[in-house]
């Protein structure tokens, strides 16, 4: 096969659960057990070749029960995509769309059109596991990207370097790897010719390539001369000797915390080149790799955390609050902080952790027990056990378990002998325990 190492250990529900978190948005009830029964090979194949999409569960609604208007209403683009993450039968396809949204990070701050952002999103969903060269071409002429990095401002008459630079630095080669400032300027010339019109009612329209704005002259790119076009520009980047290593390293980092060793890196590069820059085989090889299962945990991206909590509890999208809540946690979809995407080495700090606390609070809202009426045992151990069962018994470390038990004991002790407190404190403690488990280090990571 590919020469990339394959995980040989036990593939049980715990391993299947990790795979579902890394390649998707975590398991619904029973999904990890079902996936484990397939064995690793079949499990990865089922994710990478999922067939037609089925959306499982009720359609998304806003808090008043109305259908979403993702192209028009502010923030409903975010909730619309979150719903796909929650309901999809093709988690890896959605997860790859999220990868490409970060890789080719385009922000609606610079585009100003949810319609065009969703158009780009559909591209990532439809082509995210195919040829990287085709994907790069599609992104290069994608209207949202043309607006975001001034691609349709870039003309023979007045070249604009913005896209050319980021195409090499962020999309294909890596900062300062195998190109110089001269290549930036020459690539910008090759990429000239895209235009768009403006309509008072629709905004930017009529995206097209107009030869009158293209610079057909000879360019020197990566030391070679030619009358390069924008497609040549894409091809030159993908066939550049420094591209496969960049591609493999960057893609690997979305799925595995520890960097690949040299042999793995090389084998994945060979796989990528030998399949003529196909994404799917490389993703499958990464998902089968021993380090994914045996290596360090990863902090879940905020939307993955949010979608995962909803999937665990089987709650459909019934509010648009997720938009601002996920923004608080550091990830509003369609609004990456800049063209380099989200800094996923720094998901957690004192501000974004608070965002996750609030996400968990909103996720738990419909499940909260009413302290005045709920029947809950006045017993710390039983309370913790019940809260763990609520979350389908996640594996928690001893420190987290200790914190939960200590909390439950103290909360009950505070009730003393007062009868209304003995009724109310256990239910309140149960609500609090569910919340503490949701924000525990174990549930923030996978």
């Amino acid at each position: 096969m590919s020469g990339v190492a394959v995980y040989q250990g036990r593939f049980g529900p715990a391993e299947a659960e990790r795979l579902l978190w890394r390649a998707g948005f975590g398991p619904r009830r029973g999904e990890a057990e079902a996936l484990a029964k397939l064995g690793l090979e079949e499990a990865v194949a089922s994710l990478a070749h999922p067939g037609a999409e089925r959306l499982v569960g009720p359609a998304p609604r806003d808090e008043k029960g109305r259908p979403l208007a993702p192209s028009d209403a502010w923030g409903q683009d975010h909730v619309w995509w979150l719903d796909r993450m929650v309901r999809t039968s093709r988690p890896l396809v959605e997860r790859m769309a999220l990868v490409w949204h970060d890789w080719f990070a385009t922000s609606n701050i610079g585009v100003g059109s949810q319609r065009l952002m969703l158009h780009q999103n559909q591209l990532f969903r439809a082509s995210g596991l195919g040829s990287f060269e085709h994907l790069l071409q599609d992104v290069t002429k994608d209207p949202a990207m043309l607006l975001w990095l001034n691609g349709s401002d870039n003309s023979k008459q007045s070249p604009n370097e913005n896209y050319a630079r980021e195409m090499m630095e962020l999309f294909t080669l890596g900062a300062g790897r195998g190109y110089g400032e001269r290549d930036v300027r020459q690539q910008a010339r090759a990429l000239t010719g895209f235009r768009n019109g403006w309509s008072r009612s629709l905004g930017p329209v009529r995206f097209r390539f107009d030869p009158a704005y293209h610079d057909p002259g000879t360019k020197t790119i990566f030391g070679r001369r030619g009358t390069y076009s924008w497609k040549d520009s894409c091809r030159l980047c993908v066939t550049h000797p420094d591209h496969p290593s960049f591609f493999v390293n960057k893609l690997w980092g979305y799925f595995v915390a520890d960097p690949p060793d040299r042999a793995t890196q090389r084998a994945l590069e060979q796989l990528y080149v030998s399949t003529r820059y196909e994404v799917r085989p490389v993703v499958e090889a990464i998902l089968r790799h021993p380090v994914l299962f045996e290596g360090s945990r990863m902090v879940k991206p905020p939307v993955v955390y949010n979608a995962g909590l909803l999937r665990t509890l089987g709650r459909p999208i019934d509010t648009t609050a997720w938009t601002w809540l996920d923004a608080m946690a550091g990830q509003q979809l369609f609004y990456p902080p800049n063209v380099a995407g989200w800094d996923d080495s720094r998901w957690l700090d004192t501000a974004t952790w608070r965002g996750r606390w609030w996400i968990a609070q909103y996720v738990l809202q419909p499940f909260a027990l009413d302290p005045a009426h709920a029947v809950v045992p006045f017993d710390a151990r039983a309370l913790v056990d019940r809260a763990l069962a609520f979350w389908h018994r996640p594996a928690l470390g001893s420190a987290t378990q200790k914190a939960l038990h200590t909390f439950a004991r103290r909360a009950l002790a505070d009730a003393g002998g007062t009868s209304w407190k003995r009724q109310q404190y256990p239910a309140m403690a149960q609500n609090a325990l569910r919340h503490l488990i949701a924000v525990s280090p174990e549930l923030q990571t996978s």
Binding site: Q157, L170, V339, M428, N431
Partner: protein
């Protein structure tokens, strides 16, 4: 409550201790008349202290927060009030040749046929340069000798990538592999293990310059909204729950679990430190002597909150904020630039006046920076592409107000790519700030610190 009218003569720390003692008296008030309506928690007693130009609101909300705030005050009071450095980042590569436009340079109009500015105050130290009209607030402070201008700051062989160049500035070295920020390393060197507020990012996420290797630092969007609650959990159970947040972390061999646990305990610590600033009823928890610009952008409000936190004696040393505005002006530069600069400059002027009114101005310096300047020649879209050296400022009563590095001119001052050459190195400025402002050995923080010329920055 007016019980502290006679406090004006007390020292800052005694004043705060007295306020805390008053606020803590009679707690908890939760027992009689139970149960409380959902979500109310303990009753709050608001205690407002006015004295020494400081306005402090202390809430008797939680014995936990009360103790922790006491600790913070005690720690701060035990030492002389620390000096504070506030880093303000113009994200995107601000066009230095518009911030200080070289209207006196004959090549300026040729390189900038559409974008050349006219008017704006002349810079006293170099009449070639004019202040951008939107920077009038900073020009005013410059006239008071409270602004040090760096007209061409950067480094040789400037990297024109936003991310690489910003990374260099954040980590304080042209080293792509460094993972700690320059302010973070200063805090690792001189900070403490129990005070997240020592490095404070007033933002939605932590500024990379504050990334530390060992000591805790904090990020928060607004100090009066650092609250946590749950569904149908209140009173003592809520307090126990919040107490448990800090226990979720424990040493782990797994880096991600370790991070998640460490951040949980920083959250716990920070929440306690900020309890006095909680706004429970929608009323602003701080009031100040100075009016700030009204804006949807959080920047002026954050500066105002910072002044109030400093006045309250919170142990803050390094602060990072992102300025309002869009500075990556590849197109339509004039409008974008003017709006961002106006709000930035007006807010910084208000902050300076606030510090002066509160008697804090001598211990705060503000450093304004951007990852690079922009190309001298405009690009044809009413914009400019990425360049090299840019403009920086240092603002404060203790700034020398003497220009650092000269404007190199558009004739001889451009490199082969048509970008402005640096006449001052940002690492030399960092080293000078570390030595002259914080009084530490720059070599412990900035790699190869001794190889950079350190300008005199602090009087």
């Amino acid at each position: 409550m007016d019980g502290c009218r006679g406090c004006a003569g007390l020292s800052r720390s005694r004043l705060l201790h007295r306020a805390l003692a008053e606020a803590g008296r009679g707690l908890p008030a939760v027992e009689p008349g139970m149960p409380l309506p959902a979500g109310t928690g303990l009753t709050r007693r608001r205690f407002l202290v006015r004295g020494l130009s400081a306005a402090v609101a202390v809430y008797g909300g939680s014995r936990l927060g009360f103790d922790a705030f006491g600790e913070g005050v005690a720690a701060a009071a035990a030492r002389p009030a620390p000096r504070v450095l506030v880093s303000v980042f113009l994200e995107g590569g601000a066009d230095g040749l518009s911030l200080l436009s070289p209207q006196g340079d004959p090549l300026y109009a040729k390189l900038r046929p559409q974008l050349a500015l006219s008017g704006g105050q002349q810079l006293a130290e170099d009449p070639t340069l004019n202040w951008h009209p939107s920077l009038a607030g900073i020009a005013q402070l410059y006239g008071e000798k409270k602004v040090t201008v760096m007209p061409a700051i950067g480094y040789t062989d400037a990297n024109q990538s936003h991310f690489t160049s910003r990374h260099y500035w954040e980590v304080g070295a042209t080293d792509a592999s460094l993972r700690t920020g320059w302010l973070g390393r200063y805090l690792d060197h001189a900070g403490t293990g129990d005070n997240p507020l020592q490095g404070l990012s007033l933002d939605d996420a932590l500024a990379p310059s504050l990334a530390t290797a060992s000591v805790p630092v904090a990020s928060l969007s607004s100090p009066d909204q650092y609250n946590f609650s749950s569904n149908r959990v209140w009173g003592p159970v809520e307090e126990r729950m919040l107490e448990a947040i800090g226990q979720l972390g424990s040493p782990s061999s797994d880096p991600a679990l370790r991070t998640a646990g460490a951040v949980a305990s920083q959250v716990d610590r920070l929440r306690r430190q900020l309890l006095p600033f909680q706004s429970h009823d929608g009323n602003p928890s701080q009031t100040g002597p100075t009016a700030y610009p009204q804006s949807d952008d959080p920047f002026p409000g954050r500066l105002s909150a910072l002044a109030a936190m400093l006045a309250a004696g919170l142990p803050i040393r390094c602060v990072a904020l992102t300025a309002p505005g869009e500075y990556d002006t590849h197109a339509d530069e004039p409008t974008a630039l003017a709006q961002g600069l106006q709000l930035t400059a007006d807010s910084l002027l208000a902050f300076q006046r606030d510090l002066e009114a509160r008697g804090l101005a001598d211990r705060v310096l503000v450093q304004v920076w951007s990852e690079f300047g922009r190309r001298a020649a405009e690009n044809g879209d009413s914009g400019t592409d990425h360049g090299a050296a840019g403009v920086g400022f240092l603002i404060g009563t203790r700034a020398t107000g003497t220009m650092v590095g000269e404007f190199p001119g558009l004739q001889d001052g451009l490199d082969a790519d048509g970008n402005l050459r640096a006449t001052a190195d940002f690492r030399g400025v960092y080293a000078a700030l570390l030595e002259q402002w914080f009084g530490v050995d720059a070599a412990a923080v900035i790699p190869h610190a001794s190889s950079f010329r350190r300008p005199a920055l602090v009087t």
